[in-house]
Subunit: 131 residues, 4 copies
């Protein structure tokens, strides 16, 4: 069973005065991994299809990330409910963990502006990669 | 008992293609509130004094935030341990909640590059505002 | 004759490892001033109305900007052509100049996806404030 | 004669409500290309060595850049003075130009906090790649 892995390069602009990647940027790394994951499994082909809202994020910072490093973000669907699902992330640099995170997504009908039941095919798509 | 309140104006650059504030920017709002809180209570007078590391953040998104809005971020110290403490945040726009969050900070000796016991005076300073 | 002045507070996230505001953030300051200026003169009431594209920006950096500072951005319409117009900006902190800039905007029909003649009323609106 | 080329992937966070890369982010692309260029030619091996200040940037936007695209940024040293030098950039996506830019750098002694004469070896290093 293999998780999807997305690699993100650190930009100079990601750093803050402490000289390492600012903690808000980690949410951008999660977002990049999420968008790449959805594209990979065919759950969303573009911005218009991402019928979900991020309802919660929790993140544990393990080690600072610096300029010139590449962050490997592995992501997998770790829970499915009737209206929401969880993604679990592990972030590492050169094989060493730098952060762990979880996000909760709620399926959302942007037309009606309200949450909707999780489309059954999402579960299939989001778990195929870990087969 | 009053929490410290910091007000942050939404910038156009905070928005993403969905037309509302990107979720990573919420961590910047927390950071702004935290820096202002520490300055207010005298726990840190500048970048050099902020002898702590953010070890964990959890955030629940309640409602989208849009251009032209001001986000009120209330912050208070909600737990003290021997080496760490928690801050709890409530974010609102026009009195309506838009997010809730918690961050865990670890006292850190940047000279020795290792965690250190929480200085006793931090507790006094960080709780004065809620007296 | 008074220019429109927009005040922007420096965020911690605006800083880079050099400890001062990163140069890309200055374009965000210009954007904030521009959006506020258009709203003030009634040239655009929201995102949907901003029928223009920024075609060029030039900026001279005069002095570093630091955490805790407020940047005053004065902006005025300095040239009108048939399809474009210029905005000129002066950025200062505590009365001292920190940057000067100019941007060129092209009127754009987002429906037809092509440039359009500058609406005559824009000139009136954009120059009223300097009356 | 070949220019140095740096490739930057567009992030979702680089987009603004118009659905394309925000213009401030282009300065981050220039910065990334500049840092990579200096590292490549040995003019700076890390943050500590970048003894220069960006004094001016001018940029012409040619076409919008979208999610999923890669931006190729070619950069070359185009002028050397006694205290400053210019870099010229061409940004393209799939061979089509999206922007052109120029930045002026001033050699700066961070210890003395004042401009300094351009070190002669910089010229050699910054022009080697175009040999």
């Amino acid at each position: 069973m293999n998780d999807f892995v997305h690699v993100e390069k650190v930009r100079f602009r990601d750093l803050d005065p402490m000289g390492h990647v600012n903690n808000a940027v980690f949410l951008t790394f999660l977002e990049q991994a999420r968008v790449a994951f959805f594209a990979e499994v065919g759950a969303a082909t573009g911005l218009e299809d991402m019928n979900m809202i991020v309802a919660r994020v929790e993140i544990d910072f393990k080690a600072p990330v610096r300029l010139g490093q590449e962050v490997e973000v592995s992501v997998r669907a770790s829970r499915f409910g009737t209206k929401s699902f969880d993604l679990t992330y592990e972030l590492g640099v050169d094989g060493e963990p730098v952060a762990e995170a979880k996000s909760v997504q709620v399926a959302y009908d942007y037309g009606r502006r309200e949450p909707m039941p999780l489309p059954p095919e999402w579960r299939d798509k989001l778990t195929t990669i870990a087969a």
